[in-house]
């Protein structure tokens, strides 16, 4: 049961951290709750579908279907996050000024929310499909269903609690700095996802590794530790990154940063 709880917790944690950042980044925006919960619901549905077709997906494209699907999902999320970050660089200041003035939710139209709905759905889909496969595997095994459900429930609750913790922590950032801080978090989240996408493309042999491990910091902070895993999600920490992953990380961060600066200047 404990093993189940821990595995589910690890998977839920990644999705929960991403959702927390999205919730923080859309603070004060009208109707965001509905968008985020729709994203979660769509993600769960997608996770069940992906798990159901897991073997067929894995066999596709000469056995690299799983990597290609993961990389595509991650890169789609990167695009949406980039778009959101650049949009916020343009509108963030007026948004926070407006929120400080009226102290309430503001309506910005649903375009940035739609992008983030996709990000939430994709995060839940990726992590959720692993949980479904894992739990289904136990279900067909000899262990008791009750222990599985208990462990799964425990892991789910644990992951959500950490997500809420991060969210309320972020809300303590003063309003003046809030949107620029949440925008930086979105930028790092996107860069990390790009690096993770490169990791899958290397694994599928679609891209050269350019150095299988440029450094090894696993002695300092292992990918396996909870802190390492949380940082992996939040900023793309990798204890043994391949060269190509670093290229993806830095280029994504630079592109989004440049986009943010350009839009900021265009507005000023």
């Amino acid at each position: 049961m404990l093993a189940t709880a821990l595995l589910v917790f690890r998977e839920v944690l990644e999705a929960a951290l991403i959702i927390s950042i999205v919730m923080a980044a859309t603070r004060g925006i009208h109707r965001r709750g509905r968008f985020v919960s729709s994203g979660i619901a769509l993600g769960v549905l997608g996770a069940v579908l992906v798990a159901g077709f897991a073997s067929r997906i894995a066999d596709a494209v000469e056995g690299t279907g799983q990597e290609l699907l993961n990389a595509t999902v991650l890169l789609a999320a990167v695009l949406m996050l980039a778009w959101h970050a650049i949009w916020m660089a343009r509108h963030g200041r007026e948004l926070s000024a407006q929120m400080q003035a009226v102290g309430a939710e503001v309506s910005t139209g649903s375009r940035p929310l739609a992008a983030l709905l996709v990000v939430v759905a994709l995060a839940v889909l990726r992590e959720g499909s692993e949980i479904v496969l894992f739990l289904f595997g136990i279900g067909t095994g000899e262990s008791s269903v009750l222990a599985m459900l208990l462990g799964g429930g425990l892991g789910l609750v644990g992951g959500i609690v950490v997500g809420f913790g991060l969210y309320f922590g972020l809300l303590r950032i003063p309003m003046r700095h809030f949107f620029s801080a949440s925008n930086w978090m979105i930028l790092l989240l996107a860069a990390g996802m790009a690096s993770h996408a490169a990791h899958y493309l290397i694994q599928a042999d679609w891209l050269p590794a350019l150095g299988a491990a440029i450094w090894d910091s696993s002695m300092l902070l292992s990918d396996h530790s909870l802190v390492g895993q949380a940082l992996h999600t939040l900023i793309g920490y990798d204890a043994r990154p391949a060269g190509m992953q670093l290229i993806f990380y830095v280029s994504t961060a630079l592109l989004i940063y440049t986009g943010m600066q350009k839009c900021n200047r265009a507005q000023a």
């Binding site: 897991a54 894995a58 290397i202």
Partner: protein
């Protein structure tokens, strides 16, 4: 003439065989890897086949190799690895980590 063609075919076949990466297979049975340790060449890319003969899915994972891939029930996956430096690279099945443990040894 025929000899020349035959020679050509043999040469081409040999070249193709050389270009083909070295392939290794590890089998999953009763949530254990067989063989539990595999010796692989260092300094070149290798193709690892994970053959899951269990009735439940597994995730092949290794922090040292920086790899993670789901392998379905009674299914096989290909994992591209390396080129590795000489050393020991443990891997495990995340869904049954208490028994599913193994390692690549690059020499």
């Amino acid at each position: 003439m025929y000899r020349l063609i035959a020679l050509l075919i043999v040469t081409v076949a040999a070249t193709c065989a050389a270009a083909e990466p070295t392939q290794f297979t590890v089998t999953l049975k009763d949530h254990r890897f067989v063989p539990a340790e595999l010796i692989v060449p260092a300094g070149q890319k290798i193709k690892l086949i994970v053959d899951n003969q269990d009735a439940s899915a597994e995730e092949f994972e290794s922090y040292e190799l920086n790899r993670e891939k789901i392998v379905g029930a009674n299914a096989r996956i290909i994992v591209w690895i390396g080129p590795l430096k000489a050393g020991r690279y443990p891997f495990f099945g995340e869904f049954h980590a208490d028994t599913a443990q193994g390692a690549l040894i690059a020499e």
